[in-house]
């Protein structure tokens, strides 16, 4: 059954609806354009970094120069001109603000427009936020409350100064700097991001969240996030991302590393709404992200939940290394592409310990001329007795011009491992739309409702505070102008 022309037209015009597409007029402090050792020294000096970190960056850079681009993803874009970007941009304020009162009002306003009023979040929502604007963290809320429980939540640049032992121990331990070209670039030029440490036996008293915003023109954002949950600790963390509408493609190459020790649990959620480009595929963010967690301890658990609606191109595979016996890895994903967006996303579950379990639920929705690929790998090592994986990949197509692909790789070196894989591809049925419209829903409302239903299993995994927002976003990203 084919969907009506009307719906196709409607969902194709979403580009104009991107509500986070404004620019903040703020003076910024930038490094010269381009990339070389001097730029890296500049960034390192800006952050007053210790020598070892500069050396690490330079090592990554020299490695990066010779590294080939990953070419196995089903993505099509012209080669990047790395010399055409700025690698450091910071709003021009004096020093790092000590409290929200010292934060430039223009920045507070920006976050408010984006629906993240930092002040209110601080007072009402009980969610601690680290706001990263271009290359620097501009505000972190709730620090006192967190400190009282022993939780460290601060910009990674600050952690380098204040908690060098933890940083040296864990940074690069899950995603080595030479992991892939994008991660390597990040290791050389990363500017800010969040650091979280939850001490032994502590259940983090509130949701933590980082909000990333790219503002400057031609600026890449290269943030690094490092989360360590010590024995028996629990933390739930959410990141959100937006950028202005611009005709140029902007680069975002982030690295996220998670470490869960014995009995620890990390829940990492992403609502990615970078600017997707316009309805003709002009502009938009190139989102090249390396996210990986290690369940280092016994009975530890890492759960990735992502709602990917933005970016011109998404290259992203949040993964779990299940090293500890009885550890659990989960990946819940919704990826929506529209117009000319391309997404190649999935996960990699590496079972090393005994009785390790992983669960993968992926929902891909493609509309317009977009292309959506699920790429997942489940790898069972010989010693992983009793390992189990369940994978389910569902794709929903809206219109006839988009594509959805499922590419599962399974590598089992333990014959007793139990692996289950299910995959479906469907189209929004004309009958479902008609049923909804007969009840008074507009075409757009009907599409949003049906797609939300399709993604329900994943959206339910988001922290309550964000689930409603994500549901709206699902609707908006498939919305068009009502004719």
């Amino acid at each position: 059954m084919s969907i009506s022309e009307d719906t196709i037209r409607q969902v194709e015009t979403i580009g104009s609806k991107y509500s986070a597409g404004f620019v903040t007029d703020i003076e910024s402090d930038k490094a010269p354009k381009g990339l070389n050792e001097d730029i890296i020294r500049f960034i390192s000096a800006k952050k007053s970094e210790p020598e070892w970190l500069l050396e690490w960056r330079l090592k990554a850079f020299s490695h990066w120069l010779d590294m080939p681009e990953p070419d196995w993803a089903k993505l099509d874009f012209p080669p990047l001109d790395y010399q055409d970007y700025y690698y450091y941009a910071a709003p021009k304020t004096q020093d790092r603000p000590k409290s929200l009162d010292e934060v430039d009002p223009k920045l507070l306003e920006t976050y408010e427009k984006l629906g993240i009023p930092l002040r209110e979040q601080e007072i009402l929502a009980g969610v601690a936020v680290d706001a990263v604007f271009d290359s620097v963290s501009v505000a972190t809320t709730f620090r006192k409350t967190l400190e009282e429980s022993g939780v460290i939540f601060c910009p990674i640049s600050e952690a380098v100064q204040k908690h060098p032992d933890l940083i040296r121990k864990y940074m690069g331990s899950v995603v080595p700097f030479h992991d892939n070209k994008h991660a390597c670039l990040n290791s050389a030029v990363f500017t800010d991001g969040s650091f979280v440490y939850v001490p032994e036996g502590v259940r983090c008293p509130m949701e933590l969240s980082t909000y990333f915003r790219i503002n400057e023109l031609n600026t890449g954002q290269f943030e690094r996030t490092l989360i360590v949950a010590d024995k028996g600790a629990y933390v739930s963390y959410l990141e959100g991302c937006t950028a202005p509408m611009r005709d140029e493609n902007q680069l975002h190459a982030a690295v996220v590393e998670l470490i869960a020790l014995d009995d620890a649990e990390i829940k990492y959620s992403t609502v990615q709404n970078w600017y997707p480009g316009d309805e003709n595929g002009k502009g938009g963010i190139y989102n090249f992200v390396t996210k990986r967690g290690i369940c280092a301890g016994r009975r530890s658990k890492i759960s990735w939940t992502q709602v990917e609606t933005g970016s011109a191109i998404t290259w992203k595979y949040p993964s779990c290394i299940l090293k500890g016996d009885e550890s659990i890895g989960e990946f819940y994903s919704v990826a929506i592409t529209n117009n000319y967006q391309q997404a190649d996303t999935g996960t990699k579950m590496t079972h090393i310990g005994r009785n390790t379990k992983s669960r993968i639920i992926s929902k891909g929705i493609a509309a317009g001329h977009s292309d959506s690929t699920y790429r997942g790998q489940v790898k069972i090592m010989p010693k992983a007795e009793g390992a189990r994986n369940f994978t389910q990949c569902d794709s929903l197509l809206i219109g006839d011009l988009c594509g959805a692909h499922t590419v599962p790789y399974i590598e089992s070196r333990n014959p007793k491992a139990q692996l289950e894989h299910e995959a479906t591809t469907s189209k929004i049925a004309e009958d479902q739309l008609f049923y909804c419209r007969q009840r008074g829903l507009s075409q757009e409302e009907a599409v949003a409702l049906i797609v939300n239903g399709f993604c329900r299993e994943v959206l339910q995994k988001l922290p309550m505070e964000f689930a409603v927002e994500a549901q709206k976003l699902v609707g908006i990203s498939l919305e068009g102008s009502v004719g």
Partner: protein, 250 residues
């Protein structure tokens, strides 16, 4: 008042309705009976605005407006409701969410105030109780895993919530056990009023024992071939459609 004149409808190049004339009076219950495949559901879909059906000739005026010019949701806003012969499943969408979205969409289109979660729940509970619909139905995904009878009751619940001016019930009685049939009929009877028009499509006299129709029509081979009082239904039950299909055979 709904006036259907010389309606010709095609699907996939095949003509199903072949010059159908029918006038429906406000406040009346019209029943349509007819053999399988004669075009009863086709008529109900065309009235509701299904895009797969092409109207090649004829007109439908609804309270003086050209119904065929309107989008399905516009018709719904004006009070057209179709209880589907085969209600559609929408996986992952909770009935409560669906129903509230629908009620508020229609209220918005009618310039009425939207219901908040609490007011909606109160209203829904009331109607569900009256129709003997299990409360957990609200939490279940729309029509998924529901039995045939549950789906039909669900349709009547939606009708009660949306308070239409013109309700088409397409074989709402099939699949219902005798108790459910009485409850559903009672639900319809409660909604009867001088402004509301019902078009009840059925194969069985049984339903019409509970919902007394004012007028009965026979639809055969794409046309209304006979119109009469309630006694016509009894005659059909006794004699079948042979007389009509024989007369009209191409």
């Amino acid at each position: 008042m709904i006036r259907i004149e010389n309606l010709h409808v095609e699907i996939d190049g095949k003509e199903i309705l072949k010059g159908l004339d029918l006038t429906l009076e406000p406040g009346k219950v019209h029943a349509i009976m007819g053999p399988n495949g004669s075009g009863k559901s086709t008529l109900s879909y065309v009235l509701a605005g299904h895009e797969s059906y092409t109207v090649t000739a004829g007109s439908v005026s609804y309270e003086g407006k050209n119904l065929l010019d309107m989008e399905p949701e516009e018709r719904a806003a004006l009070g057209v409701f179709l209880a589907f012969q085969y209600p559609v499943e929408i996986p992952g969408v909770q009935m409560s969410n669906f129903l509230r979205t629908a009620v508020n969409a229609v209220r918005r289109l009618r310039d009425e105030q939207e219901l908040d979660a609490l007011a909606f729940l109160k209203l829904a509970r009331e109607k569900m109780k009256a129709l003997g619909v299990q409360e957990d139905m609200l939490k279940r995904p729309v029509n998924v895993g529901a039995s045939g009878g549950e789906k039909k009751r669900n349709e009547v619940l939606q009708m009660a919530m949306l308070e239409p001016r013109f309700a088409v019930l397409d074989e709402t009685d099939s699949g219902l056990d005798i108790d459910a049939l009485k409850i559903v009929a009672e639900g319809v009877n409660q909604l009867r009023n001088p402004e509301r028009t019902f078009l009840v499509i059925t194969h069985y006299q049984r339903l019409l024992d509970y919902i007394r129709p004012d007028i009965v029509h026979v639809l055969a081979q794409g046309r209304i071939v006979k119109t009469g009082g309630p006694e016509l239904a009894q005659q059909l039950e006794a004699e079948g459609y042979a007389a009509f299909t024989g007369e009209q055979a191409a």
